[in-house]
């Protein structure tokens, strides 16, 4: 049967067909939907982990127990999971172990555009790179097989265009007859102390050589000869761009991007007069081909930054005088107002940022929906580096500052991010008595990536009820003496809490207690009474616009008098924050 699947759906399907039994991941665009699809296959035990290191370790444990297991994350997640990855490379596997890393060239939804292929080389594990959804499924299956055949974790690299692109896939059946998981004592392989690890390391190096030789003849590395003039080495989505941009050139399409198939590359290079490597981000393949003593061009033509596209590749080859492209007419539109993302109407984060701005706080921020608090009109976030960094950076910052500046430092972090890596940071802050203030925006969910459950949500990925981390208690046991919970829809209470804790020369934590407006279900978000602006009372002072709620629109007055504010009843959730800002009592319940 044929279906149109996204790359992420196809990876999930591939894991299912490969007989995968355990899957663990932490959400992150563009990888999130893999696990959200895996959970639909009842044969697989799939769950969210609090962070990527834990997710990979869950999968490693399941593999050592004998099961085919999967872990998925976005590119920066691999930084968090790097520690177990590098040593799992030495231990190898029992059941097949596959790690999906989804890169985000162009940073559509990321803080950097690191190239995960470097991790494969660095950790010495093979990496496959599919170029469409059909290959996502097939390569995932192959990854499990190679993992067992070569006794290694296997990485599969996706990217935004592959994970969120859709194409046609032929579905297959789930394999049967895999060995049943069972406990096996195997200390020399599974206990990585120096004595054992010294024995394993040479095996890892031998494995890389064998994998490179495998790649010389494996079907996933494919030579397509069309001309003897120009040959291009490429992989992944870039292969599709090259086929479209340079339809007459010969291509070596690599399905395995590390280790490289040396003999195959030499053979291909000998068949063409001019050799090019076209790849997004780093000159990863190019540098290795050059190190083999083969002349080629790569980053001389294409950029190190951002995505490629057929147009960008054509332009680069035309600029270098290699091809000619006919100039085409361009339809030019005048510039129009931008439409950046915004927090939802009634988002519980909004009032906190409004008050942080008024309190002149210096906010060490973190990653989540709340990062949008840095945008006008809230303008209340001053740093954002990586998940969990808000608290530790605030803790470091106060140490550098004179006492009057110390007060201004407030770390702001979401619940999912706090449980991901913020706990360690808070432990440090309490332990070393850093007098910063921390605000945990507890909206019960991992909202930014599309509302995934986290350890404080009370539900698992499968939707089952489960234990729920008590965040205030957790902060107390970490050593924070001043912990208070505040309703972020109550602007005065929020301001009071922020001012008092900023002035306190000790570590303190404020926790907000309203759920994300997009989570539905009993005991979760409830819409309030929809509000409206009394046009007779509105003086046009614009106070309510300072929170940037998308439900409030300023309507200029055509006759030149002051305009007035309007509330869109379709969008308003009745959070009352704007009402509390209106000094003229112009905002009230809809009649």
């Amino acid at each position: 049967m044929k279906e149109i699947l996204s790359g992420n759906e196809a990876i999930a399907r591939g894991a299912y067909e490969a007989g995968c039994l355990v899957a663990s991941a932490y959400p992150g665009t563009p990888s999130t939907e893999i696990l959200e699809n895996v959970i639909n296959y009842k044969e697989i035990n799939a769950s969210w982990a609090p962070n990527e290191k834990v997710a990979l370790e869950v999968a490693i444990g399941a593999s050592f127990g004998g099961a085919r297991s999967l872990s998925c994350m976005k590119h920066v997640g691999v930084n968090v999971a790097a520690d177990p990855l590098f040593t799992a490379s030495y231990t190898g596997v029992k059941g097949g172990l596959v790690l999906i890393a989804a890169d985000d060239p162009e940073m559509h939804s990321s803080q950097n555009e690191q190239d995960s292929r470097n991790y494969a080389k660095f950790a010495k594990v093979p990496m496959l790179e599919p170029s469409d959804s059909a290959e996502c499924k097939e390569f995932t299956k192959l990854a499990f097989e190679l993992s067992e055949q070569f006794d290694t974790p296997v990485m599969l690299r996706s990217c935004t265009r592959i994970s969120h692109g859709k194409s046609v896939v032929e579905l297959g059946e789930r394999v049967t007859g895999l060995p049943t998981p069972k406990l096996v004592k195997d200390a020399p392989k599974l206990v990585m102390l120096p004595g054992n690890a010294r024995v394993r390391h040479p095996l890892v190096e031998e494995r890389s050589v064998k994998l490179s030789e495998y790649g010389d003849t494996a079907a996933i590395n494919r030579v397509e000869i069309r001309s003897s003039e120009i040959g291009v080495i490429c992989a992944g989505v870039t292969y599709q761009y090259v086929r479209e941009a340079l339809p007459d050139t010969s291509v070596l399409k690599l399905g395995m991007v590390w280790p490289l198939p040396h003999a195959l590359i030499r053979e291909f290079a000998a068949k063409v007069k001019q050799l090019f490597v076209v790849e997004e981000l780093d000159p990863f393949i190019e540098e290795q081909v050059k190190a083999m003593g083969i002349a080629c061009q790569g980053k001389e033509l294409t950029t190190l930054c951002g995505e490629l596209s057929p147009g960008r590749i054509q332009a680069a080859f035309a600029k270098a005088g290699i091809i000619k492209v006919a100039a085409s007419d361009v339809i030019a539109a005048e510039p129009v107002p931008p439409r950046p993302p915004n927090m939802c109407p009634g988002c519980p984060h909004r009032g906190v940022f409004y008050q942080l701005n008024r309190a002149n706080a210096y906010v060490t921020g973190d990653i989540g929906c709340y990062t949008l608090g840095f945008m006008p009109p809230l303008n209340a976030m001053d740093t954002c580096v990586c998940m969990g960094a808000s608290i530790s950076m605030g803790s470091g910052m106060v140490r550098a500052l004179p006492p009057e500046e110390q007060k201004r430092v407030v770390a702001v972090i979401g619940d999912s991010t706090f449980l991901h890596t913020g706990i360690n940071s808070l432990m440090e802050m309490a332990w070393n008595k850093a007098p910063a203030t921390v605000i945990i925006l507890d909206n019960r969910i991992t909202a930014m990536t599309g509302r995934q459950e986290n350890p404080a949500s009370g539900f698992t990925l499968a939707g089952e009820e489960t234990s729920e981390v008590n965040i205030p208690e957790l902060c107390r046991v970490l050593g924070i003496k001043h912990v208070r919970v505040v309703d972020p829809y109550d602007l005065d209470a929020t301001r009071l809490a922020i001012e008092e804790e900023m002035n306190r020369p000790e570590p303190s934590v404020i926790i907000t207690n309203r759920p994300c407006c997009l989570i539905k279900g009993a005991g979760r978000f409830e819409k309030g009474k929809i509000l409206e602006v009394d046009q007779g009372k509105c003086t046009g002072c614009k106070a309510c616009l300072r929170i940037g709620c998308p439900a409030i629109e300023w309507k200029p007055n055509p006759d030149g008098n002051k305009g007035k504010a309007f509330i869109d009843p379709q969008l308003c959730t009745g959070c009352t924050v704007c009402q509390q800002l209106c000094k003229f009592n112009a905002i009230g319940g809809r009649k």
Binding site: T29, S167, A333, P341
Partner: protein, 192 residues
């Protein structure tokens, strides 16, 4: 470039249902026997930001992304967004847009006005332009939420695909209880 490929762009504001519309289109192309690829960006753009979905079909499609300046059909769910992405189209391309406005943040905050006379400006560049009262027609069909389906109907007329295939795609992608209204909305759009 391969002329046999048709490039469609769906543009609008996050939350308008663009992804479902592009899925229905892709499904129909696959059912009609074409190779199909589709691409869009999730994530940040869901929070009320500007959204573009690319759908390409033909005998064999390589890139999932429509090359700049190669769009054949622009399917606009919101006027300002329709205008914003005109540069992705080739000269002479078709534009089918919903006559619907959503104010961007600078307009909400009173710092800028919603750009005036956009339909006229689009028409001046691309005369094959159809402006649809999506919400109005959907209301007639029985539910405003079927506005996108009205639009789909209007776009479908510009694509050589049989009625039965569209019907099959809608049946597969639209929830059962909304199907009847959506089929009606689709038929209304197809008559435009």
């Amino acid at each position: 470039m391969d002329n046999a490929i048709t490039n469609i762009l769906l543009v609008g504001v996050g939350g308008q249902g663009i992804l479902l519309a592009s899925e229905i289109l892709s499904e129909a192309f696959m059912l009609a026997g074409f190779d199909v690829k589709k691409s869009e960006i999730h994530g940040m753009s869901q929070r009320g930001g500007s959204v573009v979905s690319h759908v390409r079909f033909g005998k064999e499609v390589f890139s999932p992304v429509v090359p700049e300046g190669q769009g054949d059909i622009l399917f606009g769910f919101e006027l300002l967004e329709t205008y914003r992405y005109l540069s992705l189209l080739k000269p002479g391309a078709t534009v089918v847009a919903n006559d619907y406005k959503i104010a961007p943040p600078s307009v909400l905050l009173g710092q800028a006005g919603y750009p005036p006379a956009l339909p006229e400006k689009i028409m001046a560049k691309l005369p094959d332009f159809l402006l649809v009262d999506g919400q109005g027609l959907a209301l007639k069909a029985g539910d405003v939420r079927a506005a996108n389906t009205v639009m789909l109907g209007a776009v479908s007329k510009r694509l050589q695909i049989a009625d039965a295939v569209w019907q099959q795609a809608l049946e597969k992608m639209v929830p059962k209880k909304a199907l009847e209204i959506n089929l009606k909305a689709f038929a209304m759009g197809r008559e435009l």
